[in-house]
Structure formats: C-alpha cells, structure tokens
Amino acid sequence: MADPQLLSSVRTLVGRQYGRVYAWDAVNAPMIRQWCEIMGVDNPLYTDAAYAADGPHGGLVAPPAMLQVWTMEGLHANNYPPGSTDQNPYEVLKLIEEYGYASVVAVNSELSFTRPVYLGERLYYTTRLESVGDEKTTGLGTGFFVTLVMSHFVEKPEGDEPVGELLFRVFKFRPASARTAAQAPIENEPAKAKRPLPGVSDDTRFFWEGCAEGKLLIQRCSACATLRHPPAPVCTHCHSFEWDSVQASGRGSLYSFVVMHYPEVAPFDHPNPIGLIELEEGVRLIAGLTGVQRDGLRIGQQLQVEFQTFDEQLALPLFRPVGE
C-alpha cells in the first residue's frame, strides 16, 4: 500500500506548471543540417533552400522531430540559457523516491505538432505535471506512472505561438524483487524472487528428474498398466505398489484454462496463462502455457510440451499451441 502521506503530497503537486526553459539558439540551418546528417534524414525541405522555397512552407523548416533539440541544455548538465527557470519539473519523482520507489523507467514519449518551426524562430517550453496514477504493480515492480507535458512555444511580439507538445511518461517504482519481501526494509536488498520449488517425494521424484532431462514422464502401474497423474505410491485401479514410468509424446489438448491477473506475485509474469492439459496418452496435468495469443486460447486446441529451466534449478514442462 502506498503511504497516505505520499499520496497526499503528490496530489498537491499534480497540475503544477513549471516555468520557461529557453533555447540557446534560434532555429538555424547548421544545426538542422547536422541533425539530418546524424539521423539519416535526407528530405530537402529541411536542408535545400532553393527546393524548400517552392515547397509547402515557402522556405526551410526544421524537422518536426527536432522539437526537443532546440531547448536542450547542451554538453553540460543543467546549463540552461539565462532567463530559464530554476524550478525542477521532476521534483515529484524525488518525492516518490523518498518513499522507497528507487527505480525509474521511461515508458512513453509522444510528440505532437501544432505547426512547422521556421529558421530564425526562438523556442521555449513550459512543463506541466499532468498526472500521477494510482499505485500499480507491473512486471517491473510497484509504483506510479507519472506524466509530464512540455508545451513548446515560439516567442512573438504579438503573442507567443504554440508549436508542439511532448508528453513524457515514466514509471517510478520499487522493483518487483524488493516488493516480495513484504515489509522488509528497503536497505536490506532482498534476493530476487524465485519460483517456488515443488515438494519432491519418493513417489514423484522420477517426474522432476524427467523434466530436468527434457522428458515428460507418466507413472504406470506395473501390474495393470494404468497410467496415472499426479503420481502416487499405489495404483488407484488395482492397488499394486509396483510402478514404472513411460515417456509421453508431449502432445496434448487444452482441457481447460485460466489466465491469472491478480494478485501479481513475483517472479511470475502477468497475465499468466495456465492450462489443464489432457495428454494424448489420456492423463491430465497442470502446466503454464507459452506462446499463446491474448484471447487465443480455446478448449480442445492442440499443444506440445517444451521444457524451461527457471532460476537455474527448476525445470518445468510448459505447453505451446501447435498447428493442427
């Protein structure tokens, strides 16, 4: 659960506008030419003045995707042109971090453009903290999606004109491996969560040893040849204690399935599709499904076993759909 104090502090920041960050230089042909060279852009509208004069804009324009470039700080960190704000639009991330959400990953960067930007124009942008989502858990961990919007303008005596926006979203989170340690203090970095190991008994060891060798083994009664899974010390049919095993073909069909969404428990991926598989030899077993499309599961579809080793210690049978 997120700390109520954190949620309250974050809420007061949402919607806040941060001051201007100015461009060092006006939009200019040398920077455009260098950017196009580096990015491999050969559109003459950006670099050939004669060609551009007859084009839709009546002259050279900057590539739209350069929008952010004009207002970058340059080689030295936090070296912004005079007049730029000293406010930190990322203060919310520092705030969240203080509550143990140490990691960050950028998840969206979306540019939208209002109009072309012309040679000689001078840009600045302002930042708005657009939103901070509810605490969410993803495969990475538990934390908050933080969305900032940078609105870019060109200065004009008659009123500044908007030229484009950058939506920038990050996920500020506590990594999944830390989360599973329940209330353990963050400074005691817990080990990465591993898949739980099965209890292995004299009645079932053959199965797991088979998995380690890439074989799907089914227990078979030595007296009456009845196959059984899960394995047991005695035959349910004739009560003989004698048994051996046979290797299954690994082909089967999907008898039933679920797709697990919640709770998200490390180290499993979510959604987590799980099948009840009826092997062609006639017995059923539970296993994870792999290579399945969302909404692509249907009872009766054909599957083939494959083996995957987790955490360098646990070989598990997984089933993948195959063509029919």
């Binding site: 599973t180 898949r195 739980p196 190991l197 099965p198 209890g199 292995v200 008994s201 004299d202 009645d203 079932t204 899974h229 899960p230 008898y255 039933s256 399935f257 679920v258 797709v259 697990m260 969404h261 919640y262 709770p263 428990v265 499993f268 959604p271 987590n272 799980i274 009840l276 017995v283 059923r284 077993l285 539970i286 296993a287 994870g288 009872i299 987790f310 646990l314 598990l316």
Partner: protein, 392 residues
C-alpha cells in the same frame, strides 16, 4: 428401538456474531469470545454448562482457551474439522452427533478470523516448502507455475463448465447481482446499501479469467458462534428452536483439495452430491421441501453446480434457473438472503449458517415467507459438508 439418526435430535438454540469488517481492530480470541458469549446469552444458557466445542481449520483460536475463559469444567467433546470453508457445516453436524449420543449436553460451534486484516487466503504466497510432506508434494504440481490462488483453481473448473453447458460470465454475474441485492437491504452486510448491476459485474477487472473481481467474495474480519443442545431442552429455551434435520460431510472418488482436475468430468461437484444424498436421506426431505438455501459462494461459478447436485435443476441447467431469477429476491428458491459471502461477509461460511438459523426463526432481514426447511452448504472444490435446518 433406539433412534440412531441424528435427524431432529439436536437444535441450534443460540446465535451470536460480531460486526463484519475489513479490520476488526481486536484479536481473534476476543472476537470468538464476544460471539460465544452473545450466543450463550441468546440461548439463555450459562457458560459453565458448555461441555463441547467444535470449529474448523484454519481457526487459530483453540477451544481450550475459550473453555478457560468461559469457566467450563466438564468439556467432553471437541473437534476441529479440516478443509477450511468446506468444513463450515461440519461442526454443527459434529455437535449434533455429540448431543444425540449424550456425550455433551451443550456444544458451542464457532469461527473467528481476522482474515482481512491479519492474513489473506488469496495472496498467492503460502510458504509452501520443498520438504516431502503430502501438502508440499501435492501443491508442487501447481505452485511452481504460479497457479496458486483459490480463484485460479475455481476458474479452471468454471471454464470447463462454461464450455460444456454454455453458461456465461453473465450467468455468474447474475449470482453476484442477486447476492448484492440482498446485501443492500441487510444492515449487517459490508455491502449494505451498495447493490451492483450486471454491467458493473462485467466491467469489473479480471482476477483470473474467467473470473471477474465481482465473482469473488470479500475477505473479512469477524466471528460467528452458535449453541447446540438437545431438541428436548430446546423446547424450554427462550428462542424458537432451529432443528438440525440433517448433517453430512462429503468426499468422493478423485477427491483432492481445490484441485480435483483429474476426474473424468470436472463440471460437477460430486462430493456435494454425496452430501445432498445424505441430507435428503437423513431428513426424508427433497428439494421441493426447501424454501430457501444458503449456497456457499466464495466464487460465483460454483453456485451453479451446487444447485444441480441438490436437484433443484438438472445437470447443466442451473444457468436457465438463474437467468429466470429463481435464485434472487422473489424467486422460487431465494439463496443467500443475507447477501452471501459476496455481499455480507466472508466468515468462512459460518455467517451463512447464522442466516439459515434466522430464516427458520423468522427473524431474517430478508425473510422468506413460511420457511420450514433451509439448506446450507459449505465450501466447494474441497472436501465439503452441508446441513438442513428446520422448524421443530
């Protein structure tokens, strides 16, 4: 000739409960004592008279501590029935057996838990280890795949049931909507005043496909207790006696705990079929004799095959029964009139038995007219149990 049946030999004569919440703010022991003392007051029986106790796993309040705090001196019968919610009805059956055989004259049945605030059954983390005791070996087929929640285990049966009989997620939703409708008019229910629509059910997030959030019961803190004594004595006590007409537990072929996936057919609940046949045999009653029922609803999908196992409908036809609203307010067989575990609280089924007691007494908040007999079922997918309670 000696009457060897337990039918009609014992009665529930006292009922007590705490409030139901998400955080009781007090110990389970205290909750158990609050409910037990209220049940004894309700019955008009002095705590020192209690001679037996029964609860079920995983109740962590030991009967000896309750006995000590009550001041009991001659406790001759105690049991704790295994299999969690599947056991819910069994303590009443055990109490009736103890009373009918004269081992104990007064028995307290209780269930106390801070299942929401102290621990949660649906967490997916249960501390299973790799030592080869049966439980670890058995759950070893599931835990390594992350197949580790009751919702997931139930979902596996539900998906096959839907495929076989054409039941839909909306049919499951109709179970939830009816329960929440009853809860909405039950001031003791957590979801009092909060009905839901079928659209809201369908829009609720996935917990484990095919189960939406609103297919899953709540998790709750609270306690329920009741007092059982002989039918003879019940006639002289202050409350309308609620006769225990039948009680049974059930295990059948291919039985596992939540994971009976290896039976030829997994669309039924054959262990509940065992319970149904035994309840009808003991009581001499049939489905037509039951005016209302408390059908265990930890997850909506298992309500359907229970209606089938008890013969209210034919196999695979529960969906039609539910689409016609027979399970809902005003229907042919209103079920879970307290709001069920979906709407009132999840006290592991014991609050459902309490509702059956109130229906027989005629004091339920959503009272069904002319109740003579009520069916109560316990948790499904596990070794289970059931009761028929009725008027004397």
């Amino acid at each position: 000739m000696t009457n060897l049946s337990i039918s009609g030999r014992a009665a529930i004569v006292g009922l007590g409960a705490t409030e139901f919440s998400k955080n009781s703010g007090r110990t389970e022991l205290r909750l158990a004592l609050e409910a037990t003392l209220e049940a004894l007051r309700d019955a008009g029986i002095d705590p020192s008279e209690v001679e037996g106790f029964s609860s079920y796993s995983v109740d962590k309040v030991p009967e000896y501590e309750i006995a000590r705090l009550l001041g009991c001196k001659d406790v001759k019968f105690f049991s704790q029935v295994p299999h969690g919610g599947g056991a819910a009805c069994a303590p009443v059956m055990h109490a009736a057996m103890a009373v009918a055989t004269g081992v104990a004259k007064v028995v307290v049945v209780y269930r106390a838990m801070n299942e929401r605030s102290w621990y949660r059954f649906g967490s997916g983390s249960y501390g299973f280890a790799s030592t080869p005791i049966f439980e670890n070996v058995n759950y070893g087929w599931y835990m390594p795949h992350g197949f580790h929640t009751p919702a997931a285990w139930v979902g596996m049966f539900a998906q096959r049931y839907m495929h076989t009989y054409g039941a839909t997620s909306e049919d499951f939703g109709r179970v939830a909507v009816a329960a929440r409708d009853f809860a909405a008019s039950n001031p003791k229910a957590f979801f009092h005043g909060k009905p839901i629509t079928l659209q809201e059910h369908q829009a609720s997030r996935w917990i484990c496909e095919p189960l939406h959030l609103l297919d899953c019961c709540q998790e709750s803190d609270g306690a329920v207790a009741m007092v059982i004594t002989s039918a003879e004595r019940a006639r002289d006590l202050r409350q309308t006696p609620v006769t225990i007409k039948a009680g049974s537990q059930g295990i059948t072929s291919g039985q596992q705990s939540m994971t009976s996936f290896y039976r030829d057919d997994i669309t039924g609940l054959p262990e509940m079929g065992v319970v149904a046949r035994e309840l009808y045999r003991q009581s001499g009653l049939g489905p037509q004799d039951l005016q209302t029922a408390v059908i265990y609803d930890h997850f909506t999908p298992f309500v359907l095959p229970q209606l089938e196992e008890f013969g209210f409908v034919r196999r695979g036809e529960a969906k039609e029964f539910i689409r016609e609203g027979h399970h809902a307010r005003g229907g042919k067989l209103p079920i879970n009139t307290h709001g069920g575990q979906l709407g009132e609280a999840y006290i592991h089924g014991m609050n459902g038995i309490a509702e059956a007691v109130r229906q027989v007494r005629g004091t339920a908040v959503n009272q069904v007219a002319d109740v003579a007999n009520v069916l109560v079922t316990a948790g499904t997918g596990v070794p289970t149990s059931g009761l028929i309670l009725g008027t004397a």
